[in-house]
């Protein structure tokens, strides 16, 4: 029995809309080992954020199994879920909307500690808050400031401190640096890496930025319209991308260097909404390499190299 913090089997999350059933997350399976980072990459509408929230049981799964630390949490009650909150946490994308504008830094960071009765003594709570602030690089004097008085980078640090307050083992990072300036992004990424080493954290790192995910992840999962289209260790994915969508994503990365630009692997059209999808490859409408077979059946994930999985008829 390996060290798996999280195992996800055939996870599905569907939403009922007026136009039909929206397959936000459709048959996702993966696992993450302790101390490692899984990068989940995809553009808007691919279901990565929904996936993160279902795993944390902030949303209930439609089907499938979520096994956290060896325990099946897919069907447990919300009361049981609340008890697990000390072990699994989330860092949000938008540092501006993820903090209650009416609460001070102190109140925001101490709330999880108080509510979950981790520390009871008032003085001890404050010491813990200061300790957390120091860990994430927030100056002590900011303890009574309000979020709107601070910049995005500092607000994100508050969010990280809040997530760490209960010493979780597993953190879902939902695009934690996308809304930040470049130099602040780097500061926060370094912080997250340091925390991982220091506390042995396991991350699920959701992002659309491939340069960041390459830098930060051990393994990567590429999602498109609710499905996993490719799954591989990070280095392998970047060196040998197999799925056309992955190739397009890599090709779309703009490298800050002068010189000849390689021909871009451009996609046609736009991403559609996965409502009542037919049995076809969901990428077929945009794929430059599409053939007849792609429109007739949805490809399954198969292992092409050890540890490298692709869902494409052409591979």
């Amino acid at each position: 029995m390996s060290n798996k913090v999280l195992e996800v089997h055939n996870l599905k999350k569907y939403f009922k809309t007026s136009r039909g059933m929206l397959h936000a997350v459709d048959n996702i399976s993966f696992s993450i080992e302790q101390g490692r980072t899984l990068g989940v990459v995809g553009e808007s509408g691919c279901g990565k954020s929904t996936c993160g929230r279902v795993i944390l049981r902030l949303l209930d799964p439609t089907d499938g199994k979520i096994i956290f630390n060896g325990r099946d949490i897919s069907g447990i009650s919300q009361n049981e879920v609340r008890k697990l909150r000390t072990e699994m946490q989330i860092i949000f994308q938008d540092p501006f909307s993820s903090l209650d504008p009416r609460k001070t830094v102190n109140q925001i960071i101490s709330e999880p500690i108080i509510v979950n009765k981790i520390i009871k003594n008032k003085k001890a709570i404050e010491e813990r808050v200061l300790e957390l602030m120091d860990t994430v690089g927030l100056a002590e004097r900011l303890i009574n400031t309000y979020p709107h008085e601070l910049d995005g980078g500092r607000r994100q640090r508050i969010g990280i401190a809040r997530a760490l307050a209960m010493n979780p083992k597993f953190i879902v990072c939902d695009e934690p640096v996308s809304a930040l300036d470049v130099s602040i992004q780097a500061q926060i990424l370094n912080l997250l890496q340091r925390l991982q080493k220091q506390y042995g954290l396991t991350y699920m790192f959701i992002t659309h930025d491939l340069a960041v995910v390459n830098h930060f992840s051990d393994d990567i999962v590429v999602m498109y319209l609710g499905q996993i289209v490719e799954k591989a260790p990070a280095e392998e994915l970047f060196e040998n991308p197999a799925h056309p969508y992955t190739k397009a994503l890599l090709s779309a990365i703009l490298i800050p260097e002068t010189g000849e630009k390689t021909e871009r692997f451009l996609l046609k059209g736009e991403i559609s909404s996965p409502i009542d999808p037919k049995d076809e490859c969901r990428f077929s409408k945009r794929c430059p390499l599409v053939v007849e077979k792609c429109r007739n059946s949805c490809p399954a994930l198969k292992e092409t190299e050890p540890g490298h999985f692709v869902a494409c008829h052409l591979v």
């Binding site: 470049v182 340069a211 970047f238």
Partner: protein, 336 residues
Amino acid sequence: MENKNVILDIQDLEVRFEVDGEIIRAVNGVSLTLEKGKTLGLVGETGAGKTTAALAVMRLVPDPPGIIGKGNILLNGKDVMEMSVSNLEKIRGKEVSMIFQDPMTSLNPVFTVGEQIAESLEIHEQLSPADAMIKAKEMLELVGIPGYRASEFPYQFSGGMKQRVVIAIALACNPQLLIADEPTTALDVTIQAQVLALMKALKEKYGTAMIMITHDLGIVAEVCDEVAVMYAGRIIEKGTLDQVFNNTLHPYTEGLFNSLPNIKNRKSELRPIPGLMPDPVNLPPGCAFEPRCAYAREECGLRIPDSRFVSDHIVCCLAYDDPNFHIRRKGGKNVE
């Protein structure tokens, strides 16, 4: 000094905002020239003053609380600061156009996209509504949207398509200068690639000069000919793309490059610039970057560096008083 090739000439632009008794110094002495058909990348992080400077070109800075303190802005030789409002309205949309970051809020939700493109044509080119609509459909085709969608409303389009509509509106009257303020930041990366390719193609087709405001050095490398890096309201480095990228001079620019994850070397460490950009209400007396600069010396905190020509382009850094000084980044890579 009339150069017929120069579409935009800004000299010593200063813009400040007076709010609640405090003065926010957003733009502090910006000078730049742009030739016809060229693309300038105006690079900087949030709060650097790039958007304010661009708005000033079209005199769109909200007044109050914004005040253009001093500066000359010559658009095609004409002084924008001296123009009457009605003349300004004539050139906005016709000689100079602007596109903004968020396509969700740039389009009016109660008019069809065709009407919004046609509006510009009716006002500036004096076309009849019928003719304007025909041209509007052509513009849609040009940006890759089927013409029959001109009768649809913005909510029926995705983010990337809305941005294309915004581009169509901006280019409808064939302006000589297009100011694009972070046009692809809100878009997915594959859509961004499409939109940038489109902008490049249109720019070449029409010979439009462009100012691309962005914080993304990758975008700059992709579409720009020249680069100006802004920090705390000043341009601290300015040159051609090759000069700024491969002969980087200013420590801040170097810091920006170091902050980026290196696609080719995944385990290389990110070296962020420590600290934060200074509060524009409280700018330090000397160089604004000095508190964060790895190469700072005592005099850097005492006086603001002037713009000087070093090697092959312009930089504002006192370190170059020493002719042997160089930053660690050389030729687009780090040497130690």
